[in-house]
Symmetry: C3
Subunit: 154 residues, 3 copies
């Protein structure tokens, strides 16, 4: 079963990406590594799907959902770049940033919304080293932003 079939099984379908030009790029390749930009929970046109501070305006469950939407946005960009998600050999490193406040310390549980999608889709090859932290705030008031390094088949 390929990566997209597994995504479909957990209810995720990937729309085509609407690309914009600026001084950064969603993905930068170095050999067989892809360095990904930080992704918020956005739709295929880059519009925010969720906004707010986890632990203040949003619950941990909503933060988890935001992290899941970051995974969808990142996989959409990877599919756009690679053509086929099965060219991804393994997930190396993830940095998960939770816009959080008050007495909220559930960063790992929140970012699991991202990590779980990756492991459900890529299995053992999806398990990654990860740092998860609380950030002061994000562009467009994203509750969660995630970046990553993945290894691809040449």
């Amino acid at each position: 079963m390929n990566a997209e079939t597994r995504l479909a099984k957990i209810g995720i379908e990937l729309d085509p990406v609407c690309r914009k030009g600026h001084s950064t790029t969603a993905i930068r390749r170095y050999g067989d590594l892809l360095f990904l930009s930080g992704f918020g929970p956005v739709d295929s046109e880059g519009r925010p799907l969720m906004q707010g501070c986890v632990g203040v305006e949003l619950t941990q469950e909503e933060g988890f959902e935001a992290a899941r939407l970051c995974a969808v946005a990142m996989l959409r960009a990877l599919k756009d770049y690679l053509g086929d998600l099965d060219r991804i050999e393994e997930w190396i490193k993830v940095l998960g940033l939770v816009n959080s406040g008050g007495d909220f310390w559930g960063m790992p549980a929140t970012i699991n919304g991202f990590s779980n999608v990756i492991v459900q889709t890529f299995g053992e090859r999806g398990r990654h080293a990860r740092a998860a932290m609380g950030s002061a705030n994000h562009e467009s008031q994203y509750p969660v932003v995630v970046d990553a390094i993945v290894r691809i088949r040449e």
Copy 2:
């Protein structure tokens, strides 16, 4: 036209770096990759040129200028390390940290102060994957800190 000529055209000149010894290093090489430490907006002796929190003491325009000064500080260190900035083949990844508070969410616009200098100097090879986020605070009250990974010619 080489990288330093392009920098001069946008009004940036690179002074020699005053190096200090400690347990860290500004640049660590791995094969043809350079991993750079976080750079604040400092002069060639490492003294802060700007301080304060973007969205509170500083405007977004001032944050943009601070990010531009981070680029100058980083390019100064790269020139010191490489001798010649044209040994840089491409910019891979950038992490931009904005010390921000209040209702400020303009991280990408702020960190563009950094990214624009890089793209003006290196063209398409300067476009990078990037994560930009709000951080609680920085050493020396820097408004912006940026780290990076670049690829060089062996």
Copy 3:
């Protein structure tokens, strides 16, 4: 003198690690690089040894000690993974996150608690590129979290 002997000399002994399964992993290997997850100041069973916000509940000295404990936790995981710490050739990059508040800007001095252990243990090969920043908060109220990239002997 090997790495573990040098650690013993600065009073650090590494217990065996108690491993837990989840969608992330403490260490992900790519060729001769190891990408490490963020480590808080935890014991060998993953229980927090220190908690709180540096500059509010904790002094800079306590933050320094927390960073030192992050180094111990990370070295414990590396020993568990590699068998022998002397397989580490060099330390490339470190990201140090200080849960800090109030008027606290001593991130580098705090994260030196981590970096000093590394340099005392690995000498010049331990000097690393580093970004240190203040984060809003961390899982389990860790005062400090540190991740890293190291190069190993194949």
